[in-house]
Symmetry: C2
Subunit: 346 residues, 2 copies
């Protein structure tokens, strides 16, 4: 009998296989796997649920990630999924598996970061689990939130002609990671080496202490704009846009010139001789929100700072295109840089 | 500067330190850390939330635990915490970190167990996360449920004079684990050795495929009995009873002769020359429910099968006593066998 290895099946193949026969039996389980958060409906009151696993050596490297930042980021990656449903996070649970190499002071620092994020995002830490771990630091966070039934936004509502918008700028978190890994590598080879991080404060913060888009929902509501689809950018623009397109049954066209890139992202990309566009499209971990709006809402969107229209939804038959400066187009690839490592949500 | 190691501070000291300054800011966050599940209140509709982390080498050994059973048990340990609030589980999320040594078939088996448990406990699998893992199989399950505001039971409601009751029998899961570890050890030393598991079907199932107390709440409600305090027995009778006493501000007296022990538990304990009482008091993982009722409800409880009155709540000043057959008493110790490994919930 032949055993299929995971690498043969592929992680997306496995997730598809595991989830294909899931049946939801409770009327309240309105949305299960396949979006940023699951949705539970109790007489019109919606509870959103999302969970993320963070493993040492896969998602973070404790040689250069401070524990307090790691705690903060563990919360951010989860509340970001609630915002990506146009919802409001309310509570989290935090479970940790602690290897013996960690001091109690290190764990306290981690929880300081957790509590700082709870303050900033106005959420309650309501529970969790703790365990010893034989191998590495393990973090599992679950976030709960809510959304008004009329305001909730799924990945599936985008239509041909809708405008593709993004908050903030893209690729910074990935370039921050490259910088940290490069300098850490140099330091590991030469303990006298002094890591050169100056001039890159912004992209380092994007990687080590990202923020979720706390105010987007409120801003859009104030201008009477209801997005047709939303997702947070955790895997990279290309991969996350394809999630929306797949759920909505559309194609897409992105104008690469319009993709917002921070000067520090540009600068380091230039130094490393890679295209900043690669960081934006495939880097991930930016925790910005990618969303679509009906073309009629474009005018209402204009006064809002920090939001950029970067493309347009097309018909499914049109595929997924990147339009370059000279108007030529190339096919957009789905692969995030972390494929094969971080896999993805159910 | 001196760094406090975890073993110096102790795991309970750490959990206390991490949770002592937690403030709940949302009115809806009715109960945070310190019970079997957190409680979120939306206009009288209560959502219960509980989460458990299961790590390879700490909570399970894949050399003798079948993946399907592991999936089933991962659900059971979580829904058990919902039943221990006198609630009904409704949904779960399942996150896994998968090491490269696992085949896709093994992961599918694990999910078969998850789905089997979802069917049995009538709950929906609504989400989760997947990741590669550098070290060992990692499982994090979160269960959501609900309870009627008038029916929910906390650890804190027991009063002096209340009767201490327990479902099923105790110590079986621990004796099953001892048997599995003993036979696995013999097999590891001699690959020709054929593990001897016959005659121990019951305690093996208690360890490998435990069940949670699905029907207890319904049965008690039908007889108009409302427990004053409840907890599930995951750490062992002594440890879990002390959790109730601490939350309720009481002492306790257990009549050891009354503690229900299965014949297979007795038999193996005899063979291994240990007291079955040690397995019942400190073994854990039985996932039975320990609860207290007002003395006036004793008569209503009597016809219910599978429930045993094992003791009485006393004043805090009376301490925690075990009354032996000859009426002498000894102090009940708090330590579960897994202290220092599995730590505990926030």
């Amino acid at each position: 009998m032949k055993t299929t290895t995971l690498s043969e099946l592929g992680e997306f193949g496995l997730i598809r296989k595991l989830t294909e026969d899931i049946v939801l039996r409770h009327q309240g389980s309105r949305k299960g796997v396949g979006d940023d958060a699951a949705v539970i409906d109790h007489k019109g009151f919606l509870t959103l649920v999302t969970t993320d696993l963070l493993l040492e050596g896969i998602h973070f490297d404790l040689t250069y990630v401070p524990m307090k930042h790691l705690g903060y980021k563990s919360v951010v990656v989860n509340v970001s999924d609630i915002y990506a449903m146009n919802g409001t996070p309310l509570q989290i649970t935090v479970s940790i598996g602690v290897s013996s190499k960690l001091s109690s002071g290190a764990i306290e620092e981690f929880y300081k970061g957790i509590k700082l994020a709870c303050n900033h995002y106005e959420i309650d830490l309501i529970g969790g689990d703790t365990s010893a771990s034989n191998h590495g630091f393990t973090i599992s966070v679950t976030a709960l939130g809510t959304a008004h039934a009329k305001q909730i936004v799924y990945r599936s509502g985008a239509r041909k002609g809708d405008l593709i918008c993004v908050t903030g700028d893209l690729g910074g978190a990935f370039m921050g990671l490259l910088l940290l890994e490069q300098e850490n590598h140099k330091f590991a080879n030469d303990p006298k080496y002094k890591p050169q991080l100056e001039g890159y404060q912004y992209i380092l913060e994007r990687q080590l202490k990202p923020e979720a888009c706390k105010d987007l929902g409120r801003k859009l509501l104030a201008r009477n704009i209801k997005p047709t689809a939303m997702i947070d950018i955790s895997d990279g623009l290309s991969s996350d846009l394809l999630h929306i397109c797949e759920a909505s049954g559309t194609g897409s066209r992105i104008f690469t010139e319009r993709i917002p890139i921070h000067p520090e992202t540009e600068k380091l990309a230039g130094q490393l001789r890679i295209s900043p566009m690669v960081a934006a499209l495939s880097g991930g971990e930016d925790y910005e929100i990618l969303f679509t709006i009906p073309p009629g809402d474009a005018k209402a969107l204009q006064p809002l700072e920090g939001i950029t229209v970067i493309g347009i939804m097309t018909g499914k038959e049109d595929g997924h295109l990147l339009e370059l400066k000279d108007k030529t187009t190339i096919l957009m690839e789905a692969q995030g840089w972390n494929a094969g490592k971080k896999w993805g949500k159910l």
